[in-house]
């Protein structure tokens, strides 16, 4: 019967067990993952099983890197999203966190647009490091994403998004995300994008400031192809800041909504 060992299709005899396979293929492996979940006990393998053997401390080969990185994915997810293209308008608190999450799961192509530089007040919530202060956000983020998952294609554009350049930057996407800061920029992007690309889903955010309850941040389908994440009211303003925990919750709501859309599910 056919199974996969570190994503290589392999023929084995029926009734082969996991530990037999281990002894024959990679006896020094100490992490055994079957169909996306660590498996300690010996089991009889089934047709189509996806088995990953990892030896802790060992550097994977280039050929095996992708398979091992995605070995804890729900089976089938990675094949679908590695062909996908997602746009991210803004590389700040929302955008940098969305980009990291989508790079970790192996979305094929990310287009990230932001005009700004990394500065110290960003670091309480954005995915940058002290040694990147002064760099353009998109260049710094691109470097970070390459270190997380070198297989993701990143188009990094160091420009300000306007209603006139949306079509130039954000064509041919499977899903779009709005990750701006100002409310006026959010509405500019949303109405601009959806009038040009009415059939491409867009995931936006509104209301994620402060340290209010996590549970009020939700994902809502508000209009055709428009999803909004947030609590709808917690604005960033004097006396109410933006901080990593709650910003991260909203960003990951957005990233999960993107993933669901790529997999044909409705978010929210």
């Amino acid at each position: 019967m056919n199974i996969f060992i570190n994503e290589r299709a392999t023929s084995i005899s029926s009734n082969t067990t996991l530990h037999q396979l281990l002894r024959e293929n990679k006896p020094d492996a100490d992490l055994l993952i079957v169909n996306g979940f660590p498996q300690k006990e010996d089991i009889v393998l089934q047709e189509g099983d996806r088995v990953i053997f990892i030896t802790r401390g060992e550097q994977p080969t280039a050929e095996e890197l992708e398979a091992l990185m995605m070995s804890r994915h729900t089976p089938g997810v990675h094949e679908k999203i590695r062909q996908s293209s997602v746009g991210i308008a803004g590389a700040g608190g929302l955008g940098s966190n969305i980009a990291v999450a989508l790079a970790r799961i192996g979305v094929g192509h990310l287009t990230i647009v932001d005009f700004d530089l990394v500065e110290p007040s960003n670091l309480n919530r954005q995915q940058y490091f002290i040694d990147q202060i002064g760099l353009s956000k998109v260049a710094a983020l691109r470097n970070n994403l390459k270190r997380i998952n070198p297989l993701v294609n990143v188009t990094a554009i160091n420009k300000k998004v306007t209603s006139d350049n949306i079509v130039e930057f954000f064509s041919d996407l499977d899903v779009m995300t709005e990750a701006f800061d100002a409310a006026t920029e959010k509405t500019m992007l949303i109405s601009g994008f959806l009038s040009i690309f009415p059939d491409t889903p867009l995931v936006a955010a509104s209301g994620l400031a402060g340290y209010g309850p996590s549970n009020t941040i939700i994902t809502e389908h508000v209009a055709q192809n428009l999803y909004i994440v947030g609590d709808g009211c917690s604005a960033a303003k004097p006396g109410q800041g933006l901080m990593a925990p709650r910003v991260g919750i909203a960003a990951h709501h957005q990233a999960n909504a993107v993933l669901r859309l790529l997999l044909g599910e409705k978010p929210g």
Binding site: G95, F180, A183, V222, L226, I228, G232
Partner: protein
């Protein structure tokens, strides 16, 4: 004439346009997204978009932060 806004009935003057509706609702046109009869409107068209009896609108307000 009667419209439906966010699922609720709402009365406006005949010959109203979107920009007038937003003034009536005291909403900032730069901080809302409007879906009119299943189409999301561009901000630039608010003054030119006339409302009709029975129109269905979703009006979503945005707050800053991100």
């Amino acid at each position: 004439m009667e419209l439906k806004i966010n699922g609720k009935p709402f009365q406006v003057e005949e010959n109203s346009h979107i920009d007038q509706l937003l003034k009536q609702l005291e909403l900032n046109p730069h901080q809302v997204i409007i879906e009119l009869n299943r189409n999301i409107l561009k901000k630039e068209t608010f003054a030119d978009t006339r409302l009709s009896q029975g129109d269905t609108l979703e009006i979503i307000q945005f707050v800053g932060g991100g």
